[in-house]
Symmetry: C2
Amino acid sequence: MTLSTQRTAERDVFYAHLAKRGLRRTAQRDAVLEALYASSSHVTAEALYLGVRQQHPSIGFSTVYRTLKLLVECELARQVDFADGRTHFEAACDEPHHDHMICLRCGTAIEFSHPTIEALQDQIAADNQFVPVRHVMTIFGHCRLCS
Amino acid sequence: MTLSTQRTAERDVFYAHLAKRGLRRTAQRDAVLEALYASSSHVTAEALYLGVRQQHPSIGFSTVYRTLKLLVECELARQVDFADGRTHFEAACDEPHHDHMICLRCGTAIEFSHPTIEALQDQIAADNQFVPVRHVMTIFGHCRLCS
DNA sequence: CTGGCTGCAAAGCATTTGCATGACA
DNA sequence: TGTCATGCAAATGCTTTGCAGCCAG
């Protein structure tokens, strides 16, 4: 397929994860990975499903969800809470970590990261004898165009 | 009822909100407010439902959800995402604002607040011409007892 | 009285799961 | 050739809604 030379690094990570779990490489799984990384920052499972469908008309919702779960496991995807009742996903390899500002009117997400906040979070966790695994920081409000 | 002299401030806020919306004061709404403020920090709608049921056996889930929506509107309640698929609520009047550390194993929530982080958040929003309405910061990980 | 409120049951939604068929290794 | 993967449909779990009767004002 035309994608075989793209997203090489991500595909390697994915295949390694599949191998480690004794799972198989399939065209559908490749397609979901490709669709996630081709999409502009944040997508719902439904958007991904519709995207993959263009190249792979018979794919089902279950496969998209199942594959997303695998991608989250091997940290190729991250989940983002948009406070709209469904889970949004983003490709995770582009940037190491970032947080979000989400516009309550238009749903636009602005990404940002702040080393000091990161450091303070780790400090707070340590102070409470808490071992951090991941964290989310989201500012909900109104973006420039909507306010 | 025995509660008529308790939670006076909160009840005033609630009644003002109801009046403003042209809604009525009812025993069920009082009971949900009381149950929320009587509960230890974080509760699901179901827990609240079960709690209210003890004093008010005929209450329905719908009323709990409808009342919670009202309480969130007038900022007597806040929603917290525990990443477990359902919405948790907390009484909002006790403390002005705080964030959470949530244990992925036992679900315990540790509250914290950090003025510097708050200030940095406002700063970041301002830098992006973003008007913040509310924000959440949650650290997921393992608590002292679970790690 | 009147319009809002309640509880029930049914509907909605996003997500997950059971299962028979199909495909990778 | 056996096991894992897929796609469909059904199920699940949380939350919302329609509706007939009920109640506050």
